[in-house]
């Protein structure tokens, strides 16, 4: 793959990380919600480069289209349109959180890379061929083949969540 | 299996108890007459038993044997011999009379008679049981009704007396239980059967047991354990203090049964268990027993002399008379032991009479003071007001102080003849005869203060004995006089058994 394409991946990764940083830190919830959206987009691009095209699409549809909008609605329903400037970040936990973050990231990363190294990597050509092939048909086969049980479970879960959310959020009768 | 008369005699009163509990509460007379029936039937059976008891053979008769708990080969083993038949007859008779004597009980009539019948079956069981486990069971069963009878229908501080009686006897029976278990454990074919234990009593010899570090001879310790259990019941001197309390607080009929039958269980137990199963230990302890007997006589008589309460006086006189029984038993002579068992029977009748008579006075005047605690005169000159009552009391008194011609003398004479013929104990007889003297002193002194002399105005309106009371006392009067003149009907019952007992004791 050409360097340009790799650059796009790098940019996507930087986008994701930066917006995630804003989401985590920004005192105003509205801004963090919006930046969450950008983070999702970055992730979608990363999926593309990882050969999960259908996944990227669902990412965009579900997360960007659905969840973020839902969150915005929630924010609007609960913030009284700027009347309440929520001092958002709990001051007393700043110190432990930052220490945690700085400490945790390298450890986590090293742990995962050790895991990756332990596990037998796929041959490069198979990897690139995989990355390029369209995945929608495999996902369909997998959904109704090897992963039919989770698929059924997910449907029930979604139904439950749907009914639950509706029941919880309905106005007082 | 021939007619199970002993089981019947033991369990009919129990049946009666159940029937009474089912009767309606508001008809006391119905309750009373049912209890009369349920004590009357054993009395008739008792008479049948007496007629069919073969006095010539010394072994156990009317045996009923069935295995009860096979695991520990405990048997339901009932039987009587010369030693137990007088006691059985006494129990049956006194229970029957006491039902009439307690006609005056108004409070909780059903409960009273239920407990009473329960008591009678307990007593019958004790005298008929030949299996130690069964004996112990009846021994404990008998305690319960006594506790309630004294505790509920008793006098002023009845609860104290009831508890003292119960705990004291229970403490004794705990020792007995230990001894029983030890005997079961040490006997070769582990058994509770008294006669078997007596047969091979050699097995307990020259064994030792270590208790709290010190080692003791097995048979002496077992003998002592049983002895203390029975001594409390007799009562023997240091363990006698429950008796005055129990008597003073118990209602009339109960103290009649207590004095008439319960005291005899101690000496009966000694003769049934200590003597045959531990002959060597008995010989070892015979002098001590004799000394205790003499102490009992003198101590009881002296204490009786100082009593101001009629019932306490009679209670202490029972202590003194039981002293003769112990003396007779300890003398190891034919006349002595026969006299002892005879005294157990005679004392039963004469003391029962005295208690019934004291009850008669108590029902009318509601106090029993010869001299009131504040020194003023209690009873006085009742002879003028109640001549028949005085006559009956005179007979009872002279019977119990051992006037010849009445039953008291026969047993006392036999005990003294027996003990005197044993060269070791002749000086004890001399001291014992002081006991007779003191006995006559306190009884007649009481008779004088209570019945003779000028009439105490308080009792001017005291009525003489009504027909019910006279009928209750009549059989006892007849018994006392007849046995005084010709004691053979009772004496030849026990003769062969005692001869066998002494022979076994002698051979050891």
């Amino acid at each position: 793959m050409s360097n340009g394409i790799k650059l796009i991946l790098l940019l996507a990764e930087i986008l994701t990380v930066g917006s995630a940083l804003v989401v985590a830190v920004n005192p105003n919830i509205l801004y963090s919600a919006v930046f969450l959206l950008f983070s999702f987009l970055g992730v979608a691009v990363m999926f593309l480069f990882a050969g999960a095209d259908f996944l990227a699409a669902t990412q965009v549809v579900v997360y960007v289209g659905g969840v973020t909008i839902l969150i915005l609605f929630a924010i609007m329903l609960t913030q009284w349109m700027y009347r309440l400037k929520l001092r958002d970040v709990g001051s007393k936990f700043i110190v432990p959180a930052v220490v945690l973050a700085l400490g945790l990231v390298p450890m986590l990363h090293r742990g995962l890379t050790d895991l990756a190294r332990m596990v037998k990597a796929a041959p490069p050509e198979k990897m690139s061929e995989f990355a390029a092939s369209p995945k929608t048909m495999e996902i369909g086969k997998a959904l109704l083949g090897s992963h039919v049980l989770p698929f059924e479970a997910i449907t029930i879960l979604l139904l439950g969540a749907l009914v639950g959310a509706v029941w919880l959020a309905r106005p007082k009768s | 299996m021939q007619f199970p008369i002993l089981s019947l005699m033991t369990f009919i009163p129990l049946l009666g108890m159940l029937v009474i509990l089912a009767l309606p509460k508001d008809k006391p007379n119905l309750v009373r007459w049912t209890s009369v029936i349920f004590t009357g039937v054993p009395l008739l059976l008792g008479v049948w038993l007496y007629r069919h008891f073969d006095a010539s053979n010394a072994s156990v008769q009317f045996v009923e044997r069935a295995s009860w708990i096979k695991a520990f080969n405990i048997e339901y083993y009932m039987g009587i011999d010369g030693l137990s038949i007088p006691m059985v007859l006494l129990t049956v008779l006194l229970s029957f009379l006491c039902v009439f004597a307690s006609w005056g009980i108004e409070k909780g009539v059903k409960g009273y008679y239920a407990m009473f019948l329960f008591l009678e079956s307990g007593m019958m069981g004790v005298f008929c049981a030949l299996d130690f486990f069964l004996f112990f069971l009846f021994w404990e069963v008998m305690l319960l009704p006594m506790y309630f009878l004294i505790g509920i229908w008793g006098g002023k501080d009845k609860v104290y007396a009831a508890i003292k009686f119960f705990l004291y006897t229970l403490a004794g029976s705990v020792l007995m239980l230990l001894a029983m278990l030890a005997m079961y454990y040490y006997s070769e074919p582990h058994t509770f059967d008294l006669l078997a234990l007596a047969e091979n009593h050699k097995q307990f010899l020259d064994k030792t047991v270590t208790l709290f570090g010190a080692t003791y001879a097995l048979d002496k310790i077992l003998w002592l354990g049983l002895f203390i259990g029975f001594a409390i019941k007799v009562p023997i001197w240091p363990f006698h203090t429950w008796l005055p309390w129990a008597h003073v607080e118990a209602p009339t009929a109960v103290s009649v049964i207590l004095a008439g039958v319960l005291l005899k269980m101690g000496t009966y137990g000694l003769l049934r268990m200590n003597y045959p199963i531990f002959p060597e230990a008995t010989q070892w302890a015979s002098t001590a027993l004799m000394i205790l007997g003499v102490i009992n006589i003198i101590y009881g008589a002296l204490c009786a002399m100082a009593q101001k309460d009629l019932k306490k006086l009679v209670a202490y006189s029972s202590v003194s008379h039981m002293g003769y029984v112990i003396m007779g038993m300890a003398s190891f002579t034919t006349a002595g032991v026969n006299g002892a068992v005879m005294q157990m029977f005679n004392h039963g009748t004469s003391t029962a009479m005295m208690f019934l008579l004291v009850g008669v006075a108590y029902d009318r005047v509601h106090h029993r003071w010869i001299v009131k605690p504040d020194g003023s005169k209690g009873f006085g000159g009742i002879a003028a007001v109640a001549p028949v009552y005085t006559g009956m009391m005179a007979i009872a008194l002279f019977a119990s102080l051992g006037l010849p011609g009445l039953s008291g003398f026969i047993s006392e004479a036999l005990v003294f003849l027996g003990t005197f013929s044993n060269p070791k104990y002749q000086s004890y007889v001399v001291i014992g005869s002081i006991g007779i003297l003191l006995g006559a002193a306190y009884l007649l002194w009481m008779f004088m203060r209570v019945f003779l002399g000028p009439l105490n105005e308080e009792h001017k309106d005291m009525t003489d004995m009504n027909w019910r009371e006279r009928l209750t006392l009549l059989p006892l009067c007849v018994l006392v006089i007849v046995l005084g003149v010709y004691p053979m009907p009772v004496l030849n019952l026990m003769g062969p058994t005692i001869a066998k007992l002494l022979a076994a004791l002698g051979v050891a």
Partner: protein
């Protein structure tokens, strides 16, 4: 003959039963039942007596088995004495029995008749006769019984009757005390007597007299010792104590004077003629045993002499007519016991019989006097001679007899006893003082008896009112007096004059002596054996001395009381301490009742009862309760404080404290939980990844 003996006892017994049960309802309250019964007994006794006089020898033994106890002949050294025991009951009829039967039934019948008059109108009339019949049955039973055990039983039945009869007027507190004292004192004697019987059983294996007589002759019972004392001596001593109790001898004589509380016929029957004589009769019956145990007889002799002398002295100062007679009875009993002690078996026994007759007569006479003047105090009497001639005459004869005037029965027996006593004194110099005391007592007896006669019948009436009312008693009361007076003559027992030397010439051997000699041989009794010459000299001397002493006594009392030459009061004043001593009966009563009973025994019993209650009961038994309560409180506290507070609550607190600390973590803020989770996650990653 033995069968008739059974009837003799059975009749009064049935009379007792009838009287006791239905006496009140019978006509005349059933006194005729008792009288007929005793007369019936007399009718049965007479032929035996006559048979004895005619043939001079009557003896029969009848035995029944009373109680049998089987036994097995145990090994020789085994601690168990397992011999079979049989107690027998029986009747022994010999000359002694015959004489006694006759005397007892005669006296009893006369007294029954007398008491129908005397007790007339009493409230418990029928009971009186019931008791008297029972008493007669008891006495007769005693007389005929062969077995000492049955003798003992009748002995105690008599004790019971004396208790009931002394306490007949039970309203009187003094009567109750007297009856209790009588019963208890005799009871003391009885207990020791019973020990004697036990001794007999140990030595002879039986208590039947006939067997014992044979065994003694065969020589058994010498080696054995009881309680360290040679057996026969022990038994003898115990039997003697029985007599001492019953016949009111020296240590136990306090009860007889008080027994006068009872009605006079009772005093006559029981405390003069029969019961007290029973004590001596016991000695007579068991004489062979006493003789075998040598040391007992002298003791008996001393007691007899002492009692006689002391009682006689007391009688000197008494003013109550019945008390005088009571003390004279004790004194005469002392004489009998003295006789027994010195070995004069036959005269001793004769004195029993003679004394029974004249003393009964004296008592009944005094009864009729009391009945007439309604007082017992001689100082209120006097000059009744004219008012009551028959009573006076019979009483005078009896007094002559008791004083020992020749020609009367008393002299015969007393003179022989004193003769034997003198002979005994000569042969055993150490015991010479016994006859001396005997003679002095004889003199004193004469003195106080005549004092009684002079004070009651002679002189002028001291109390006009009573004197005026005095009248002769009815025939039912005087007839017995006359019969008894007749029996007080010497001719009945020895010869017209009573003096042995004279009578021997007039008629052959008197039936009484003959009867006693045969029974002595039969029982194996030797009596006092002393050479002919010495005995003759002793009796002669005794005759002289007793005559002079009796005469002197009579003369002196005549001077003081009849002629008032010697003033009794002056005499009293001069010997004031002696008089008070005698008046208080040597303080025996005080010693026994006041000191021993009230000061020692009763306080001791009260103390013992307190000890029994406080120490043995409260501390000994309840002590355990308080101990357990104490332990309970300690254990309770320990349990509460240590185990509960520290252990349980402590750990509870620790846990709750810990809980509190941990609880602070539960702030409810979900984020904090996550922080902790991730911290832990961090450690995990750090730990594993590294």
């Amino acid at each position: 003959m033995a069968q008739s003996c059974l009837w003799i006892v059975a009749l009064p017994l049935t009379a007792f039963v009838i009287q006791a049960l239905v006496g009140k309802k019978l006509p005349r309250h059933g006194d005729w039942v008792s009288v007929l019964a005793i007369l019936g007994s007399f009718a049965f006794a007479a032929p035996i007596f006559l048979e004895m006089i005619r043939s001079g020898h009557v003896s029969e033994v009848l035995q029944y088995k009373w109680m049998t106890m089987p036994g097995v002949e145990a090994a020789a050294n085994s601690p168990v004495l397992n011999k079979a025991v049989t107690l027998t009951v029986g009747i022994l009829v010999n000359n002694l029995t015959a004489i006694m039967l006759f005397m007892v039934t005669l006296c009893a019948s006369l007294i029954h008749i007398f008491s129908t008059g005397y007790m007339h109108g009493e409230s418990r009339y029928h009971l009186f006769f019931a008791y008297i019949s029972l008493f007669s049955a008891g006495m007769l039973g005693l007389v005929i019984s062969d077995n000492l055990l049955t003798l003992f039983m009748c002995w105690e039945v008599m004790g019971l009757c004396s208790y009931l009869l002394i306490g007949f007027y039970y309203q009187k507190v003094s009567a109750n005390h007297a009856s209790l004292k009588a019963f208890m004192t005799t009871r003391v004697g009885d207990c020791l007597f019973f020990l004697g019987i036990c001794g007999l059983y140990v030595v002879f294996g039986t208590s039947s007299l006939s067997e014992i007589y044979k065994a003694l002759q065969a020589g058994t019972g010498t080696g054995v010792t009881i309680v360290g004392v040679p057996a026969l001596a022990f038994i003898g001593f115990m039997l003697m104590m029985g007599t001492v109790g019953k016949s009111a001898q020296f240590p136990l004589q306090v009860w007889l004077p008080d027994a006068m509380e009872g009605p006079t016929p009772v005093s006559a029957l029981i405390h003069a003629a029969t019961m007290v004589a029973a004590g001596v009769f016991l000695l007579v019956r068991t004489y062979p045993i006493l003789e075998k145990a040598e040391i007992v007889l002298p003791v008996i002799g001393t007691i007899g002499a002492l009692t006689a002398f002391l009682a006689a002295c007391i009688a000197l100062v008494q003013v109550d007519i019945k008390k005088v007679l009571a003390y004279s009875t004790i004194s005469q009993l002392g004489f009998m016991v003295l006789g027994m002690g010195v070995g004069s078996f036959a005269p001793g026994f004769m004195h029993v019989i003679t004394h029974a007759c004249f003393k009964a007569c004296l008592f009944l006479a005094s009864g009729s006097v009391i009945h007439a003047v309604h007082t017992q105090d001689m100082r209120e009497m006097g000059g009744l001679r004219s008012k009551m001639p028959i009573t006076f005459l019979t009483m005078f004869i009896a007094t002559l007899a008791i004083a020992g005037v020749p020609g009367f029965s008393g002299f015969v027996s007393k003179d022989r006893i004193l003769g034997d006593a003198l002979a005994y004194g000569m042969t055993h110099p150490g015991w010479m003082w016994i006859p001396i005391l005997g003679f002095i007592t004889a003199g004193i007896t004469a003195f106080y008896m005549f004092r009684l006669i002079f004070m009651t019948f002679f002189g002028h009436a001291r109390d006009e009112h009573k004197h005026h009312h005095a009248h002769e008693s009815p025939f039912t009361m005087t007839f017995p007096l006359m019969v008894l007076a007749g029996l007080s003559l010497a001719v009945v027992f020895a010869g017209p004059t009573g003096i042995h030397s004279i009578d021997a010439k007039l008629l052959p051997v008197h039936w009484f002596d003959h009867a006693l000699d045969t029974v002595k041989a039969e029982m194996g009794v030797h009596g006092l054996h002393v050479e002919e010459a010495l005995e003759h000299r002793a009796h002669g001397l005794a005759l002289m001395v007793s005559l002079t002493v009796a005469g002197l006594g009579i003369f002196l009392s005549a001077l003081t009381y009849l002629k008032k030459v010697i003033s009794a009061e002056a005499f009293e004043k001069s010997l004031k301490p002696v008089h008070t001593l005698l008046w208080n009966k040597y303080y025996f009563d005080e010693l026994y009742i006041k000191v021993i009973i009230q000061k020692l025994l009763l306080p001791f019993t009260v103390l013992l009862a307190k000890f029994d209650d406080k120490v043995v009961d409260r501390t000994g038994v309840d002590g355990w309760a308080t101990l357990t309560l104490f332990l309970k409180s300690i254990v309770g506290k320990f349990d509460d404080l240590v185990v509960d507070r520290m252990m349980v609550d402590g750990s509870g607190n620790v846990v709750s404290a810990g809980g509190w600390v941990l609880r602070q973590l539960q702030t409810g803020k979900v984020q904090q939980y996550l922080v902790f989770t991730f911290i832990v996650l961090g450690f995990f990653i750090f730990y594993f990844v590294r």
